[in-house]
Amino acid sequence: MLKIDNLKAGIEGLEILKGINLSVKKGEVHAIMGPNGSGKSTLSSVIAGNDNYEVNSGSITFEDEDLLDLDPDQRAHRGVFLSFQYPVEIPGISVSNFIKAAITEKRKVLGLEPITAKDLLGKMKEKMDLLDMQKGYLSRNMNEGFSGGEKKRNEIFQMAMLEPKLAILDETDSGLDIDALRVVANGVNKLKNSENATIVITHYQRLLDYIIPDYVHVLHNGRIVKSGGKELAHELEKKGYDWITKEADKKWG
């Protein structure tokens, strides 16, 4: 589904990603872990299409299409979704109107009939139940005055509504207390199926207790320096990142 090949990218002339290779197949859950400043958020921003970042070389293909050629909205229409680490507040637009605009546009691009108001509302209610969200949510302005937990829940709610093929969850656990974490993770698990894939980006292992990854990758200094199964996450939790990063620094300097 997703293939990243020797991706080098940065911001304002500073190279942050120094050659990323990653392959994600449908049905898989990948976790990308790493200390602060390792390039985790840069990677998710580049996949989503944030043009503040420059791609210097390498490629990202998504279902055999060059993703780097597409605008962020086109990537979304193909089925890429990024759950933001810091969701943006948008005063003056309610959650329901926002979602309506996003779904309407996607269906238009895909040549589908517009969704009826009734169907849309029904679907929103169903997904809100899944995420244990209060009714009042829909009429509140997008992320305005939301607590950290509410913002993250709203991200997963959008994901549930948009039904992406590839979801990238960027530090979704930050700002969540343990109950909220459980609800959000439960939501993500329920949305998972054999046709879609998830990339979980996180600093800590704790989210991976709830969203069990098939593969764990350690990102350090712009490179994936170690990959393994879910047990790698437990090892990192016990031993920290040092043993891997020191080894890597010896290799790449």
Binding site: D71, A76, F84, I90, A102, V109
Partner: protein, 405 residues
């Protein structure tokens, strides 16, 4: 020749009327304001008044289709075609007549000129305790074969405990310039209420100078909503005077201009009595090479204690070539008052645009949605759904998107 010469030639039409002559002399004395005048610093009329205008020309015939096209189809309609009052509604408790006023009351060059030569206008008298839910639509249509200078002078008197809603629109149907100098005085008796909506989605051949003066007796409530969505040159002077206690004055504005359009909103809130309130919210959106001016003055007189006055002017510059000059002015001579004002000028939030983009919303639509969201706070103050819906449609048109907000 230019407009001032055209006016001098027109002078014989009111020769012998001492009030009009007095106003005329005052106008000549003042002359058209130039950018040397502080109140007109950013609003240059120089080019406009260098053109020749015919004054109160008879105009071309309008077809029924044209009239219907510009009509908003409210049940009550006052219609002026080329300066002639052609229809007016019959409403119980409301008297509507043609109004010709030559009282020498004026405070500016344009109001003096209006007092000197205006022969066109309406007068609405609302009887005490009369409540009219359905808005009265007032439509001024013109169509001319040459540049035309036209002046309306209107008066609304609202009796005690009475309530009305007005929707006003000006439309120039020709591509010749129509220069409108409009003067409207509104008097609110005790505990009366008005909502006045100015729909200024004018064409780029329309030039408008509007002066609207509201005087309020105690417990009265007034709201003026200005929707400035187009026009070559528009200057609104909106003045409120509170003559009694416990008055409330509200002014809301949404300005969205493009290309070379120019729009200037000057407001003056005169708090003359204690325990009153005023709320002012103007949202400006400037595209293309458009220019905007906002000047909001709040005066709190010495005896006007316990005043609550709020003013905000927020602006979005969508294009690098657009500009806005915003100037809040507070003069406070009482010590127990709450006054706040805020003025912001900014661009659309790039992070929000990217965020919406990643959700599949096209850049153009994301911009339009954010822009609309910016204006919505002021739009929500309009109580007439039909006007709100029309405003939304016009904003989408102005932003060139096919969206229903």
């Amino acid at each position: 020749m230019g407009l001032i010469e055209n006016i001098k030639e027109y002078q014989h039409n009111f020769a012998g009327n001492s009030n009009r002559e007095k106003a005329y002399l005052s106008f000549l004395n003042k002359g058209f304001p130039t950018t040397k005048n502080e109140e007109w610093k950013f609003s240059s009329l120089k080019k406009i008044i260098s053109h020749d205008f015919t004054i109160e020309e008879k105009g071309l015939k309008l077809s029924k289709e044209e009239i219907d096209h510009y009509s908003l189809n409210f049940k009550h309609q006052i219609l002026f075609i080329n300066g002639t009052l052609t229809s007016k509604p019959n409403i119980n408790g409301v008297r509507i007549n043609k109004y010709v006023d030559d009282s020498p009351i004026f405070n500016s060059a344009f109001s003096a000129l209006n007092a000197a030569c205006s022969n066109i206008g309406y007068e609405i008298n609302v009887d005490p305790n009369t409540i009219i839910e359905e808005p009265i639509e007032i439509l001024f249509l013109t169509k001319n074969s040459s540049n035309n200078f036209i002046q309306y002078r209107n008066k609304i008197v609202i009796g005690e405990n009475a309530q009305i809603k007005i929707v006003e629109g000006i439309k120039n149907l020709s591509d010749k310039y129509c220069f409108t100098n409009m003067h409207t005085n509104i008097k609110l008796d005790k505990s009366s209420n008005i909502e006045f909506n100015k729909l200024q989605n004018n064409t780029n051949s329309q030039i408008t100078i509007d002066e609207t003066n509201l005087t309020q007796e105690k417990n009265s409530n007034s709201t003026v909503n200005t929707l400035l969505f187009g026009g070559m040159f528009t200057r609104n002077n909106l003045n409120f005077a509170q003559n009694g206690e416990r008055c409330e004055s509200n002014m809301n504005g949404v300005v969205i201009l493009d290309e070379n359009e120019f729009g200037d909103n000057h407001t003056y809130m005169d708090h003359k009595n204690a325990n009153c309130e005023s709320n002012e919210l103007y949202k400006g959106i400037y595209l293309g090479k458009s220019k905007g001016v906002f000047n909001g003055k709040i005066m709190v007189q010495p005896d006007a204690q316990k005043i609550n006055a709020f003013q905000a002017n927020n602006n979005l510059l969508i294009s690098d070539n657009a500009s806005i000059n915003s100037k809040p002015q507070l003069e406070i001579y009482a010590d127990d008052v709450k006054c706040s004002h805020g003025c912001t000028i900014g661009q659309l939030d790039e992070n929000a645009l990217f965020y919406m983009n990643t959700r599949g919303i096209r850049k153009e639509d994301a911009r339009a949605i954010l822009t609309f969201a910016f204006a919505s706070e002021a739009l929500e103050k309009i109580s007439i759904n039909k006007i709100q819906d029309l405003a939304k449609k016009l904003i989408a048109e102005k932003l060139k998107v096919d969206l229903s907000f």
